[in-house]
Symmetry: C2
Subunit: 298 residues, 2 copies
């Protein structure tokens, strides 16, 4: 009989493309993945991967195994969500995933209030890296910015929140220096490969030179604070930062709509219901800030 848990390691390796990527995803040492896969191949009597120097590639047999392994995974996920849905006690774990800027600049204080209201609910805020998958039971609630309503996953239950606008910002000091005729060129600050959006008219301030590229939103904010140039930011980030001002003449633009997403099964859970209602109220209160109406346009 095979060890069912080995199939989990196989899945991670098949998806990650390498033993080390699978190990990182599973949170274990890569040697463990190596051994578990070797064990599974030995027990099945079939080689499921070509062991290339560049990584593991699935063999024909591996492709077949992958299909069944995904069936096992689906059953396992259903098993977890079903049990979680049964758990009606307020006490327990609640995992929330959202984009890092939303967490750091807006919602962490609200989450703190919720945690104080319900001391028995253990909270996990997953705001690092990519968005967690609700279907895979990696989180219970997701707060997402949705640009196109059609991109909403159909198997999830969505609660529409306020709309989110962005603007073009620069350092308050830098604007003053520019008005005084400062010499340095004003540069666009963009995140990694995004480039400069078409809609981002620059208003009165003209930019020069090459863009300044950063890897993440946090670095972007630091750069614009330092007076490096102008950049687009969600209003709730730019308007609340005392060091930043909107670039005169630049228009607001629609970022998208906030959605509170919950899994169909877990939605019945008391603590999920409590949380979504709470966050929904808080988001409504934040609506003017999110829409960029909290400051007078200049």
């Amino acid at each position: 009989m095979i060890d069912w848990d080995d199939v989990r390691y196989f899945l991670a390796a098949a998806r990650g493309g390498s033993v080390r990527a699978a190990a990182k995803r599973l949170g274990v040492n890569h040697a463990t993945v190596l051994r578990r896969i070797a064990q599974l191949e030995e027990r099945l009597g079939t080689q499921m991967f070509e062991k290339l120097p560049s990584g593991y590639r699935l063999t024909a047999a591996g492709e077949e195994v992958l299909e069944l392994a995904e069936q096992m995974e689906a059953s396992s996920h259903q098993l977890e969500t079903r049990v979680f849905g049964r758990d009606q006690s307020v006490r327990g774990l609640l995992r929330v995933t959202l984009a890092p800027p939303l967490a750091t600049h807006l919602l962490i204080p609200d989450f703190a209030d919720f945690a104080r209201l319900h001391p028995d609910i253990e909270m996990d805020i997953l705001s690092s890296g990519e968005l967690a998958n609700l279907t895979n039971r990696e989180a219970d609630v997701a707060i997402r910015v949705v640009y196109d309503r059609k991109t909403l996953p159909l198997n999830l239950h969505g609660l529409k929140g306020p709309e989110l606008f962005g603007g073009v910002y620069m350092s308050r000091d830098r604007l003053a220096a520019w008005r005084a005729g400062g010499p340095d060129p004003i540069r666009w600050i963009v995140i990694s490969m995004h480039g400069i959006p078409d809609w981002a008219g620059e208003g009165e301030v003209r930019t020069a030179g090459v863009p300044f590229r950063v890897t993440d939103a946090a670095a972007q904010v630091v750069a614009v604070r330092q007076g490096l140039g102008i950049t687009t930011l969600p209003c709730f980030v730019g308007d609340t930062d005392p060091l930043l001002v909107r670039v005169p003449g630049a228009d607001l633009h629609m970022y998208g709509t906030l959605w509170l997403l919950t899994h169909g099964e877990t939605r019945k859970t008391e603590r999920v219901r409590l949380f979504t209602e709470f966050v929904s109220r808080r988001l409504a209160a934040h609506a003017p800030l999110l829409a960029g109406l909290s400051v007078s346009r200049d």
Copy 2:
């Protein structure tokens, strides 16, 4: 994330009804089952069993888990059979399940011949206790006696073999003593709770007293050899035993039909094909013996 292999332990406990029964079935210590189930319950945050002094009984949550666990099991079995079906090498493992009397009295020499013909095929003969489940991937080939063709599992591929007859036998010495007017009563020897079958006419020899009950077929043969009384046996057992003779006047009766059963997926495997064809030929050669035609009736 739960350990998928824990689900396997859960399944065994849910089916066995107790931790110890599950441990026996899984071939591990019962403490291990205890720990794995406790771990699974902890990670799911739900109690799946009521821990009664008489054993483990599923809770409502456990019932739900059981359903999904069986889905995982089905995927796992498919995974194994699919991989096994791909394996076209003659070298490898081949597991055969059949009733113990068929093995010990008839087919073991044939299996030995097959093993000599194919030294690279590792063979497992599962003839102890209950019949193994082909669908569960516990064996690759099953040799069964089928009384009613409708009871054949539909998902398996069957190859019909010869018909199997049985007769009523007693010790040769005892028959001689009875004809000489021996005093001891002749008793029926029956297996456990079966009782004396209606169709088993006793012919010339009359029995007296209470039946003599044995627990298994091996003990049954020993008892009848010792001259304890008369009993029904398959012809291939009774006719080949030099110490036994058919009870005069007793008719033969149909036991059933032999079937060679293989799983749909594994049937494509070369060594399964080799084995079924080999056994099928040998069974055809045994047909007269199996039908009770190898000795002249008296």
